[in-house]
């Protein structure tokens, strides 16, 4: 083992790709990686509150078994021996799956999500379930039932949600990768707020079988990792059609990691002239503009781009997920409304007053709106660049709707302003760390591409990370 890999703390803060490569070279064991992650969780999670449940014994047993298989020279998958924990909404037969809620606190599903099965088939092992917004229904990470996650970079600020624990666990060195889910920004927001990399793939790119639903039409599964390369390695395992999820796409899965060549010559990056930069705080804008310079330095051309159909995107997008969520939760809203946090039942409620004709109009316009948007945007550029969260990261108190501050609702909505449009459009989008705001919280750069252009999105993100070190910085934990 190299000197750089000698300390347990160092092991836990390697990128996933570095850890997997060190395992393959025999420089480290899965047991050592798993023990390093568990030790950091024991030491630091009382303050961060990112873990809902942990099965240490099973994780250590699986790590030992992984090491024995490697020692026997068996054929191994690309994630062999890598310990992970995921947002607590991925079904694993017989294991807890709270969905961040009181209602499902004791739920143990009878079957396993396809994405968990794929990760395990690739050799990954699962340590536990991570904190999240209740039923994945807020962009801040507030959780009345399990307690709020704490931002490891900035005490008292939001972690972003709904995949709050996933962002924290990856940032804090508890997990080399964590699955999140994204219906309005729930992967990209915690990635931005916690200074990690998070990819929302194209709608239909990854199976949702065995994943807690929020919105049939807008839910996406995706990874939070430390680097774009990590994302690419994991996406190779996750992406692809699943017969158990008939909505999953049959599009071929490219070699994502092979696309990471660092060369952005000829790439056209568009800065939207509508919506995305209309309400940006100065410190966030500063980090964003510096990021554009980095992309230019790698050979990209950065140009302003006019968007089409934004009014349609925002209006129709506002209705689809809220109506579907209301439908999914109707039984519990009838029978036990008091078991939801007030801001969750409050957000669900309007969905019961929306006419079905509005909902179907919003769904039926989705194809034409995507075509119109893509023609205008991607006729001119290959990628769109925006800040992931346009405002300086607010505090938990400033966005606590249940606390009674009327302004909290507006701050709450401002957080997901730039991520929501890409869910209605179904486009792939990544958030990568690109600096810090004036109060010391991370800022994220969002890059979005055409449908199924995950390779190009990750290529640009990886190129950016070759010339910056924001993704390599680690928070100092108490």
């Amino acid at each position: 083992m190299s000197a750089a890999l000698s300390a347990a703390d160092d092991l836990a803060t390697l990128s996933l790709a570095e850890a997997a490569d060190a395992l393959a070279r025999g420089e480290v064991t899965s047991l050592a990686l798993t023990e390093a992650c568990l030790a950091r969780i024991r030491r630091h999670d009382k303050a961060l509150n990112s873990v809902i449940w942990l099965d240490e014994a099973a994780a250590l047993e699986a790590a030992g078994a992984a090491d024995r298989r490697r020692a026997r020279g068996e054929a191994l998958g690309p994630l062999h021996g890598i310990p992970m924990a995921h947002k607590d909404m991925y079904y694993q037969a017989g294991k807890p799956c709270s969905c961040g809620s009181a209602i499902r606190r004791d739920f143990r599903p009878a079957y396993t999500a396809t994405v968990i099965s794929r990760l395990e088939a690739a050799g990954a092992l699962t340590m536990g379930g991570l904190n999240m917004a209740e039923f994945a229904q807020n962009p801040t990470g507030h959780n009345r039932h399990f307690g709020d996650c704490q931002n490891p970079w900035a005490q008292g600020r939001i972690t972003g949600g709904s995949s709050s624990g996933s962002g924290v666990a990856v940032a804090a060195g508890f997990s080399f990768m964590a699955l999140g889910s994204d219906t309005g920004g729930s992967i990209r927001l915690p990635a931005s707020a916690c200074g990690v990399t998070g990819l929302k793939p194209t709608q239909t790119r990854i199976s949702r079988h065995g994943v807690m639903p929020l919105s049939f039409s807008c839910d996406n599964v995706g990874p939070l990792t430390r680097t774009a390369r990590d994302c690419a390695r994991v996406m190779a395992v996750l992406a692809g059609h699943d017969p158990k999820d008939p909505t999953s796409a049959r599009e071929p899965v490219p070699d994502y990691e092979a696309a990471l060549d660092g060369d952005l010559r000829g790439l056209r990056v568009g800065v939207p002239q509508e919506w995305f930069l209309e309400e940006v705080d100065a410190d966030v804008l500063r980090a964003f503009e510096m990021s554009l310079g980095v992309l230019r330095g790698r050979g990209a051309t950065v140009v302003p781009v006019r968007l089409a159909m934004m009014r349609e995107v925002l209006t129709y997008g506002a209705i689809v997920s809220r109506t579907e969520a209301a439908s999914i939760h109707a039984n519990w809203m009838r029978d036990r409304p008091g078991d939801f946090a007030a801001h969750i039942s409050g957000r669900l409620f309007p969905g019961y007053a929306v006419p079905a004709t509005y909902y179907l109009e919003a769904l039926s316009r989705r194809g034409p709106v995507l075509r119109g948007f893509a023609r205008a945007a991607f006729g001119a550029v290959d990628l769109l660049a925006t800040p992931a969260i346009p405002c300086a990261l607010p505090s938990l108190a400033e966005t606590d709707i249940d606390g009674g501050d009327p302004a909290a609702l507006q701050r709450f909505a401002a957080v997901s302003r730039n991520t929501r449009p890409f869910n209605y459009l179904g486009l792939p989008a990544i958030s990568i760390p690109c600096g810090f705001d004036d109060r010391g919280a991370p800022v994220g750069l969002q890059l979005a591409g055409r449908p199924f252009a995950e390779a190009r999105v990750m290529q640009a993100a990886d190129a950016f990370q070759r010339d910056t070190d924001w993704h390599s910085l680690r928070p100092k934990l108490a």
């Binding site: 599009e251 409620f349 007053a353 989705r366 995507l370």
Partner: protein, 67 residues
């Protein structure tokens, strides 16, 4: 807040779904539907006779990168 509208929204939820307004946040959120209605009004006439939800998957494929 428009109390009449909120009462109407509450009556709709009660009649069609058997769900009561759970709290003050729900009342505020229900009031926000007025803006949504106005936004929908501004888009009236856009829905084509042949438009339907399944077209979205076709649009994803159609809008891929060329080649």
């Amino acid at each position: 807040m428009d109390e009449i509208f909120i009462a109407e929204a509450g009556a709709t939820a009660r009649r069609w779904s058997g769900i009561d307004i759970p709290n003050e946040t729900a009342r505020q959120m229900a009031a926000d539907l007025l803006k949504l209605i106005a936004d929908f009004e501004a888009l009236r006439g856009g829905l084509g006779f042949e438009d339907e939800p399944a077209d979205f998957e076709a649009a994803l494929r159609d809008c891929k990168e060329p080649g």
